[in-house]
């Protein structure tokens, strides 16, 4: 099937009517629905970011008013976190690949999967409504008592939007967990699974366990605003810090919802483009689970200066250092995988290198923030902004784009122009570092986050950062253009253009509705490029 024709019948051409898309229960079509939705949200969030960076060129902040600026960064955060990053890899690549990688016809609950998308869109509509009808100015963190007693913007509406979208996240996680547990093809044991599945399982675990707590927390904020119930109201003896506990119980693990899938994608890319089994497969697999579990024990590091007891802070700091270890293990294992590999420089691999670079810097600067005495200085400054953008934008988006490029031929049946793709990857990499590296310095200099006006001595670095942002912005446009182009004009990819291992590459591109003509029977571990016979050795 490597001739230059697309398979006669695939999931894309079974039915062209809109109805067949809006009522589909095919996980691959739902992936496409999510892909379109989150790309739109990414564009909106990106537009806000552009405005922020433009405003920050001038220390006097003359471009927009204080109110507008505050709404800009709030909506940038809300849209990017809850409507782009959290669903990004899980809802698109996860949806597409989980059933294919385990050799199943679909996820465990196909209708629920579609319902999740509708719930997500409904939540998105509420949030967009909040945005159009005046905006929100609390920051994406909704800290009380500002959000409950002081802000007079559409806080409740936005909170309800996120509350609803949260259920999409919960149900997606639930669906994936059950799918991985119960839908694996014969012979697909846990330790034969590609590492992407391990990372998706860990991610789902966090979604299922963390998101409900965010939901109830936002509900309490809305209840306090609308019904005047007082849970966090200091004038009644309520403790605003309790909000922060509950909020970060979800929102710290949520960072792992964004980065762990990126790690999973990177594992796939590194294996496929060095044609080699991932070094220390079991360690990388368990590191994902370790991150998911330990990630729930460290939320207090967001509260070091907020009024947390100093003894409690000490425990949270210690645990925050522990969660760094599985991340370090992963980076070392990826690096070691290249040793004696057959390394190709295809575009997805460039993204994988980019991911490792970003994640290493993002992770190491996390150590600065976990360091109690140092966090006192850098907390709530641009140092934090730079750190989490390295993880969540540098890391997660590198993983997302890398994965998208790697599986694009599978999803669409067509290849993209390699030269343009390399140029895009390079532009994004340079633009990103130019944007966010100066912010580490700004942060240590003491520039607080969410500042519209700032002292003039910070201007030079801010201008540098904004210049980087414009490069980054162009970088994001390049793939958008050539990927759309490839849909019509791209060369036919064939079933397995990369010579990669994995069940998804054994079926046609694009795959048929039920993925496989015959349910596959798995007889070998993942990434068996060397064609070894299975042996009992572990580790």
């Amino acid at each position: 099937m490597t001739t230059a024709v697309l398979p006669r019948e695939n999931y894309l051409n079974t039915d062209y009517r809109l109805r067949s898309w809006l009522l589909t229960t095919d996980h691959k079509r739902i992936c496409i629905l999510y892909l379109l939705t989150i790309t739109m949200f990414f564009a909106i969030g990106g537009a806000f970011a552009t405005m922020i960076r433009l405003s920050l060129v001038n220390p006097a902040g003359t471009l927009v008013s204080d109110e507008t600026y505050n709404k800009l960064f709030t909506m940038h955060g809300i849209i990017m976190v809850f409507f782009f990053l959290v669903p990004s890899i899980p809802a698109t690549l996860g949806n597409f690949l989980i059933p294919m990688m385990i050799g199943a016809k679909d996820v465990a609950f196909p209708k629920l999967n579609l319902a999740s998308w509708y719930i997500f869109v409904t939540g998105g509509c509420f949030t967009l409504w909040a945005l159009i009808s005046g905006g929100v100015d609390t920051g994406w963190t909704f800290y009380t008592p500002f959000s409950t007693l002081s802000s007079n913007t559409n806080v409740s509406l936005a909170a309800i939007g996120i509350f609803i979208a949260g259920f999409a996240s919960i149900l997606t996680g639930l669906n994936f967990m059950v799918t991985i547990h119960r839908m694996r093809a014969p012979g697909m044991t846990w330790f034969r699974m590609p590492l992407f599945l391990w990372s998706m399982y860990a991610t789902s675990l966090i979604m299922v366990l963390g998101t409900p707590v965010l939901a109830i927390t936002l509900l309490l904020v809305a209840a306090e605003r609308v019904l005047h119930l007082g849970i966090f109201d200091p004038s009644r003896g309520g403790d605003p810090v309790l909000f922060q506990h509950l909020f970060w119980f979800y929102s710290h693990p949520a960072v792992y919802i964004m980065i762990v899938p990126g790690m999973g994608v990177t594992s796939e890319l590194i294996a496929a483009f060095s044609r080699k089994r991932i070094f220390g497969y079991e360690f990388v697999a368990f590191a994902s689970l370790a991150i998911a579990v330990l990630g729930f024990l460290v939320w207090g590091h967001h509260l070091f200066v907020a009024g947390l007891s100093i003894y409690s802070a000490m425990v949270f700091s210690l645990l925050s250092y522990l969660v760094a270890i599985p991340s370090a293990i992963k980076v070392f294992n990826w690096t070691a995988t290249l040793y004696k590999g057959s390394v190709s420089y295809a575009t997805p691999m460039l993204y994988a290198f980019g991911f490792i670079w970003m994640f290493t810097i993002g992770g190491l600067t996390g150590l600065f923030l976990a360091a109690l005495g140092l966090d006192v200085h850098v907390h709530d400054t641009y140092f934090v902004i730079a750190h989490f953008h390295y993880i969540m934008v540098g890391g997660a988006i590198m993983g997302y784009l890398g994965g998208l490029h790697y599986w694009w031929p599978k999803m669409t049946g067509r290849l993209y122009p390699e030269g343009w793709a390399k140029l895009g990857a390079l532009t994004i990499f340079l633009g990103f570092n130019l944007t966010f590296f100066p912010q580490f310095i700004l942060g240590y200099m003491g520039m607080p986050r969410r500042y519209h006006v700032y002292p003039p001595e910070f201007q030079a670095l801010n201008v540098l950062s904004s210049a980087g942002a414009s490069v980054l912005g162009i970088g994001y446009l390049i793939p958008l253009v050539y990927l759309l182009w490839s849909l019509k004009y791209g060369p036919i990819a064939g079933d397995n253009p990369w010579g990669a291992k994995g069940l998804e590459w054994t079926t046609t591109s694009p795959p048929p509705t039920h993925n496989f003509a015959v349910t596959p029977i798995v007889t070998e571990p993942a990434y068996n490029y060397a064609g070894e016979q299975e042996e009992s050795r572990v580790g």
Partner: protein, 343 residues
Amino acid sequence: MLSGIQLFPEEASTFAPKVDALYFFLVAVSAFFVVLIAGMLLFFAIKYRRRSPNEVGAPIHGGLLLETVWTVIPLLIAMVMFVWAADLYFQAYKPPKGPAINVYVLAKQWMWKFQHMDGQREINELHIPVDQRIKLIMTSQDVIHSFFVPDFRVKMDVLPGRYRTLWFEATRVGTYHLFCSQYCGTGHSRMTGEVIVMTPEAYAAWKAGGVSGDTMATAGEKLFTNLACVTCHNAQSGARGPILTGLFNQKVALTGGHPVVADDAYLRQSIMNPGSQVVAGYQPIMPTYQGLVNEEQLLDLIEYIKTLKAMPAVPTVTTSEPDGRAVPKSSARSLPVAPSAQR
């Protein structure tokens, strides 16, 4: 100054060099690992580049020794960071015992108000002497703010309904940025100010010229009289309220609850929400003073109660001094004595 780009803030407190030392250690460790990983990636990527289309990698599965090495070594380094940083944190967040200049800080949307013991009141400017321990007792009138002086490397969130103490000792004369670093609404980025560190002589001169009215304790005493607190809180037997002399920092037994220490927060709470913590042996009859005294007056009252150590419990009523002195530039408002001033 590197062509207009500064890389580090000034070290202007005793705390700053310690934080910077830790920072440099972390930068060095990070740089080492970034170079190590990026170097290895590049080296392997070039050395083992694909040379023929059907080439595959060597069948290597892993190695327990290597895994152990790169688990244990980062763990050990991380533990060094943890202990070092935790020690610094305790230094910063546990105010040392001993003499210090106390300044009350009241944060509100969007300004910083400072009240000195001797009665100086400032907005968005804090004058302090060099080489002396300063203790800030901070509270917020509305939402959460954060007191941040980058050049001192200190920061602490300022919470409504709670008093938190931050301390530092400035080591260099000069003027330093004060930022609010916790997002607090529209004017968040304009909620900035200056900390002016002065030589002891200049500070003394500033103090002498800067008094706009009474000391905090005196202002509190006047309030105490005007609000008729003394009607109940007096030393007579059978008084309806507990005696306040020597109360500060003592353990108090409460009706139906555990004993508490009478600290700033307790005193504030007792004035604003008297019913919440009734002293054992007394009736819950005290009315709330919420709305009758503002946060600044509360600070005065608390400061007055703190001074009731060797003094008699019943304050001698003093004739109020005429407030005729020129108001210094930095103190925009002087506190009205009458409790009619509402928020």
